[in-house]
């Protein structure tokens, strides 16, 4: 069977990024880093038209989970493509772009944009969690 994430590998090469594969009996997976931050892409064997690009982060200590949920909700209303969710007993935050595609070739020309949206959403999430910090 064709590898549904092969076009994603090509998109990563277009972006000048290294990647690794970690497929198993359930899913195809690609992991990569950009500017030191970790990302993943997943497609399921029983649902190859679904593709998810995402990144996960630990919440900083001392953050009130209700504040984090509030920021996530506001981002979910405003942001195109990206879903922001608290998980793992609300100690982590996950940013994902979930798409339904004929093939992941359709994603390739937009991959840079989707990566930027993921990156910007994570940056905004953490900025809004600490509105009183002085600028760097």
């Amino acid at each position: 069977m064709n590898d549904p994430l092969r076009p994603i590998e090509q998109a990563l090469s277009d972006e000048g990024l290294y990647f690794t594969r970690d497929d198993d009996e359930d899913a195809y997976r690609v992991a990569f880093k950009s500017e030191g931050d970790r990302y993943f892409v997943v497609s399921y064997r029983d649902d190859p038209t679904f593709v998810m690009i995402g990144s996960g982060w630990a919440l900083p200590g001392g953050v009130d989970p209700l504040d984090a949920v509030d920021v996530a909700n506001r981002l979910n209303v405003r942001k195109k493509f990206v879903k922001t969710a608290l998980w793992e007993e609300e100690s982590d935050v996950l940013f994902t772009v979930e798409l339904c595609v004929g093939t992941t070739n359709e994603v390739r020309p937009h991959f840079g944009r989707l990566l930027n949206v993921l990156r910007d959403t994570a940056a905004e999430f953490f900025d809004q969690l600490r509105p009183d910090d002085p600028p760097p």
């Binding site: 972006e15 000048g16 990024l17 990569f32 950009s34 500017e35 030191g36 840079g112 760097p136």
Partner: protein
């Protein structure tokens, strides 16, 4: 002990990016090329001065906006807002290069601030590109002239 060039190359690769490394030239200057967020960046290191680095990136100017006089002024304005970034028009005004010269205490110091420096350069470069592509002032001047001419005020 690894050279600054090798340390920076290893760092960029460990952050997920492929690096194209040119060997040092006769003057000991070498260049590392990598891509991030769709833009190619160059890091230049010097063997004689392990603490001196520059990071550069180039922007192609759209053909319809290639007016060297006007673009030099735009780049000077943006340099005023980002004094650490030097802008240079190149290739007969078809592109400009934004360069951040950095004299760190060590390559480790550069590495610690690397993405922040790249971000500063990208922000300055994007602003310069936007200023060059923004012809609002020229358009306003042209519209004034046309309006004045249509009303019989043209000479």
């Amino acid at each position: 002990m690894p050279s600054a060039r090798e340390l920076i190359k290893s760092f960029i690769e460990s952050e997920g990016h492929k690096v194209d490394a040119a060997p040092p030239d006769d003057a000991g200057v070498s260049e590392l090329l990598f891509r991030t967020r769709g833009q190619v960046f160059s890091v230049t290191t010097t063997e004689d001065d392990e603490a001196a680095f520059s990071i550069s990136t180039a922007y192609e100017i759209p053909e319809w906006a290639r007016e060297p006089g006007q673009n030099t002024e735009a780049l000077e304005r943006v340099h005023g807002r980002h004094p650490h970034v030097i802008f240079t028009l190149a290739h007969d005004g078809s592109l400009f290069v934004a360069t951040l010269d950095e004299h760190a205490h060590s390559s480790q110091e550069l590495i610690n601030n690397f993405w922040s420096l790249v971000g500063r350069l990208r922000d300055a470069g994007s602003q310069a590109f936007e200023d060059i592509a923004d012809r609002t002032e020229s358009k306003v001047a042209a519209e004034k002239f046309i309006n004045s001419f249509m009303m019989g005020g043209g000479q």
